[in-house]
C-alpha cells in the first residue's frame, strides 16, 4: 500500500460508493448551470447544432447578448426592484423577528405562550391559503404596484421568529440581569447584549431571507402588474413564456443573469449557509 493511502486511511467499498454518489449528484446539479454558460458564451445556435459543443467558444457573443438584454429590455430596472425588495425584506425581517424573539424568549408577560403558539401556527399554513386575503388587504391599502406592497407583507416571518427564539433562549438569564444592574435599559439590553450574542443566527436568517425573496415569484407577480414593478423573477418568466419571441440564447442569458446574485451570495456565504441550515434544522 502506498504512503498516501495509508495516511488517509483505508479505501473501503463504502468510501468509493460515497464519492461516486457525491460526484454524480454534483454533475447533475452543476450541468444545467454550466450549460447556461455554454449557450450564452457561444455563437447563437452553436452548442445545439448537429455538432454540439460542451464548452463556450465566444466571449464576445456572450457580452453582446448581456448588453442587449440590459439595454433593450426592462431587465436593469427589474434588478433594481429585486435587490431593493430583498434588502428591505432582510432588514425588516431581522429587525422585527429579533425584537419579537427578544421579548418572547427572555421575558415573561401575560399571554406570552398563547401568542407564541399562534405565531407558530402560522408556520403550518401554506402561503397559497393566505395569499388572497393578503392581496385584498394590500389592495385596500392602495399598495398595489408599490414597493411597500411588495415588501411589507413579507416582513413578519414566523420562521425567523422561531429560529431566533431558539437562539435567544440560550442567552444566560444572568447576563441579561447583569446588564440590567449595569443600568442598561430594555432596548440597550436588546441592542448591546442580546443582538450581538445571536449574530450568527441573524446572518443565517438574512441568508435564508435573501434566498427566499430572490426566488419569490408568486407574490411579486400578483402585486406588481405594471412593468416598472417587475422583479427579476417576473422578467425572466416573460423571457421563458411560450409566446415570447426571444431565441434560446437570449432566454439563457436572462436566466444566467438571474442566477448570478444568488450564486455570488452562495459563494461568499457558503460556510454560513451550510452552518445555518444545519443549525435551524437541529435547533428546532
Amino acid at each position: 500500500m502506498s504512503r498516501t493511502t495509508a495516511l488517509r486511511g483505508p479505501v473501503t467499498v463504502w468510501t468509493v460508493l460515497k464519492w461516486t454518489l457525491a460526484i454524480a449528484i454534483a454533475i447533475v446539479a452543476v450541468f444545467p448551470i454550466w450549460w447556461m454558460f455554454n449557450v450564452v458564451f457561444s455563437q447563437p445556435g452553436e452548442p445545439v447544432s448537429l455538432n454540439p459543443r460542451l464548452w463556450p467558444t465566444s466571449l464576445s457573443a456572450g457580452i453582446d447578448k448581456i448588453r442587449m438584454i440590459f439595454t433593450e429590455t426592462g431587465y436593469l430596472g427589474a434588478y433594481f426592484i429585486s435587490i431593493t425588495y430583498a434588502l428591505l425584506t432582510i432588514v425588516g425581517v431581522l429587525l422585527i423577528a429579533s425584537l419579537a424573539a427578544f421579548e418572547f424568549s427572555l421575558f415573561k408577560f401575560p399571554g406570552r405562550r398563547i401568542m407564541f403558539g399562534i405565531v407558530m401556527l402560522a408556520l403550518m399554513v401554506p402561503t397559497a391559503v393566505t395569499i388572497i386575503p393578503t392581496y385584498l388587504l394590500t389592495s385596500r391599502l392602495g399598495w398595489l404596484n408599490t414597493m411597500q406592497g411588495l415588501v411589507v407583507p413579507g416582513l413578519a416571518s414566523a420562521f425567523g421568529l422561531f429560529m431566533l427564539v431558539q437562539f435567544m433562549r440560550a442567552v444566560p438569564k444572568e447576563m441579561i440581569e447583569a446588564a440590567r444592574l449595569d443600568g442598561a435599559g430594555h432596548f440597550q439590553i436588546y441592542w448591546h447584549v442580546a443582538l450581538p450574542l445571536c449574530s450568527n443566527a441573524m446572518i443565517t436568517l438574512a441568508i435564508l431571507t435573501f434566498i427566499q425573496t430572490w426566488g419569490n415569484y408568486m407574490w411579486p407577480l400578483i402585486i406588481g402588474t405594471r412593468t416598472e414593478m417587475y422583479t427579476v423573477g417576473q422578467v425572466v418568466g416573460m423571457f421563458n413564456s411560450p409566446l415570447s419571441h426571444h431565441t434560446v440564447d437570449t432566454v439563457m442569458t436572462a436566466n444566467l443573469l438571474a442566477a448570478i446574485p444568488p450564486l455570488l451570495f452562495f459563494l461568499i456565504f457558503q460556510r454560513k449557509i451550510v452552518e445555518g441550515i444545519a443549525m435551524s434544522g437541529t435547533k428546532g
Binding site: 440581569e177 444592574l181 449595569d182
Partner: protein
C-alpha cells in the same frame, strides 16, 4: 436604623413560600455572609436586595430609603454572579466599562475609572482580551471589576468562587478580604461553604428552610448556637450530637441518662425549665479526648466505643468512634491516636457541652431567654 434594613421580608413563588419573615440589619462596611444548604433561599434573598427579584411582603431599605420599588440599577448595588455573566462579545475593557457607557459618561472619565479598577485587580494586561481567552480566576476578576467601577454602596456576591479550583478559591478569598479592607464598602456574600463563610464574615447569617436560623459573628455562632441546625452547620468536622434522656434538673445542673447508650451525667447548666424527656447533647470534636483505661475526671463523662475511621492529617487526626448505641462521634486528636477496630475510651468535657430540646432549640441555662 442600620445601613441596610431588611424587615419582615417574605418571598412567595407561585404557591410556595420560599422566604419567611426575614429580619436582618447590616451595618455600613460590614462583610455579611449568607450561608446555608442548597435551596434554602440565599440567592433569592440576595436577588431581592439587588432588585432583580420582587419583594412579596416586608421592606428592604438602604440608607433609610425603602428600595422595594426602586429599579435595580438605581439602588447603588453591584452584583457578581456565580457564572460571572460576562458579555462574551466584549473585551475586558468593554465589559468593565459597560455600566459607565450605558450611563453616557465621558471617555476620559471611563478610562480613568476602568484603569483604577483594573489596577486594583491586576487586569491591566488583559484589557483587550475577550472572556473566552481568560482563565476562571481572571474572569472572576473582570466580573468584580465590572462591579467596582460603578462604585456601588453595596457589593453582592452570589457564590462567586464556586467555579474555581480549591487553590484558586483560597487565593481569591484572600483577595476579596483585601478588597473589602481597601474599599471599605458593605459586602454581602452568598456561599454554601461554611469554611468560606467563617473566614470572610464579619456577620454570618445561617439560613435554612427559608428562615434565618441565626445571625452574628462567626465565632459567636460557633460557640453559642441558637439551635441544633446552626450548631451542626457551623464548624468542620461537625459538632457531635448524642441522644440522651433528661430526668431532672436541680441547682447543680441537669441530670441526663442514656447518653450514647448508657452514660449518666449531670450537665452543669442551671435554670432550665423543661419537662423530662428526650434531649440532645451537642459537643464539638475538640472537646472530646481519648483517655486511658481507668482514668476518670469529675467534670467529664467517659464513654467507650469502637474506632471506626481515623483520618490522619499530619499535625492532627480525626478519630471516628461508634458508641454502644451506634451513635458516631468524631474527636480531634494528635497523631497516631487510634487504631481502627480497637476499643477506645473517650472523655466528654461537660463544661463545654450544649443541650438541645427535642425540637432542636438550644436549652440555655442561667436565666437566659427560654423558648
Amino acid at each position: 436604623m442600620a445601613f441596610i434594613d431588611i424587615s419582615a421580608v417574605s418571598k412567595i413563588f407561585g404557591n410556595t413560600r420560599i422566604l419567611e419573615n426575614i429580619n436582618l440589619d447590616i451595618e455600613h462596611g460590614q462583610f455579611v455572609v449568607f450561608v446555608g444548604p442548597s435551596g434554602c433561599g440565599k440567592s433569592t434573598l440576595l436577588r431581592m436586595i439587588s432588585g432583580l427579584e420582587d419583594v412579596s411582603a416586608g421592606t428592604i431599605s438602604i440608607e433609610n430609603e425603602v428600595v422595594n420599588d426602586v429599579e435595580p440599577a438605581l439602588r447603588g448595588v453591584a452584583m457578581v454572579f456565580q457564572s460571572y455573566a460576562l458579555y462574551p462579545h466584549m473585551t475586558t475593557f468593554q465589559n468593565v466599562s459597560f455600566g459607565l457607557r450605558m450611563a453616557h459618561k465621558t471617555a476620559e472619565f471611563i478610562a480613568a475609572r476602568v484603569q483604577q479598577a483594573t489596577g486594583i485587580l491586576q487586569l491591566d494586561k488583559l484589557l483587550e482580551r475577550k472572556p473566552g481567552q481568560l482563565s476562571g480566576g481572571q474572569k472572576q476578576r473582570v466580573a468584580i471589576g465590572r462591579a467596582i467601577v460603578r462604585e456601588p454602596r453595596v457589593f453582592l456576591f452570589d457564590e462567586p468562587l464556586s467555579n474555581l479550583d480549591a487553590e484558586l478559591r483560597v487565593q481569591m478569598r484572600a483577595e476579596l478580604m483585601d478588597l473589602h479592607r481597601r474599599l471599605g464598602t458593605t459586602m454581602i456574600y452568598v456561599t454554601h461553604d461554611q469554611v468560606e463563610a467563617m473566614t470572610l464574615a464579619d456577620k454570618m447569617v445561617v439560613m435554612s428552610g427559608g428562615r434565618i436560623q441565626q445571625a452574628g459573628a462567626p465565632l459567636v455562632l460557633y460557640d453559642d448556637p441558637d439551635n441544633q441546625f446552626v450548631a451542626g452547620f457551623v464548624g468542620s468536622p461537625k459538632m457531635n450530637f448524642l441522644p440522651a434522656t433528661l430526668v431532672g434538673a436541680d441547682a447543680t445542673g441537669v441530670r441526663l441518662t442514656g447518653i450514647g447508650g448508657g452514660g449518666n451525667a449531670v450537665l452543669p447548666i442551671v435554670g432550665i425549665t423543661v419537662a423530662a424527656g428526650p434531649v440532645t447533647i451537642g459537643i464539638r470534636p475538640e472537646h472530646l479526648r481519648l483517655v486511658t483505661e481507668g482514668a476518670t475526671s469529675p467534670e467529664c463523662l467517659v464513654l467507650e466505643g469502637r474506632v471506626a475511621i481515623v483520618e490522619e492529617l499530619g499535625a492532627e487526626s480525626f478519630v471516628h468512634l461508634d458508641l454502644p448505641d451506634s451513635t458516631r462521634v468524631t474527636l480531634r486528636a494528635g497523631r497516631d491516636a487510634g487504631r481502627i477496630g480497637h476499643t477506645a475510651r473517650v472523655a466528654l468535657d461537660l463544661e463545654r457541652a450544649l443541650l438541645f430540646a427535642a425540637d432542636g432549640l438550644r436549652l440555655r441555662g442561667r436565666g437566659l431567654v427560654q423558648q
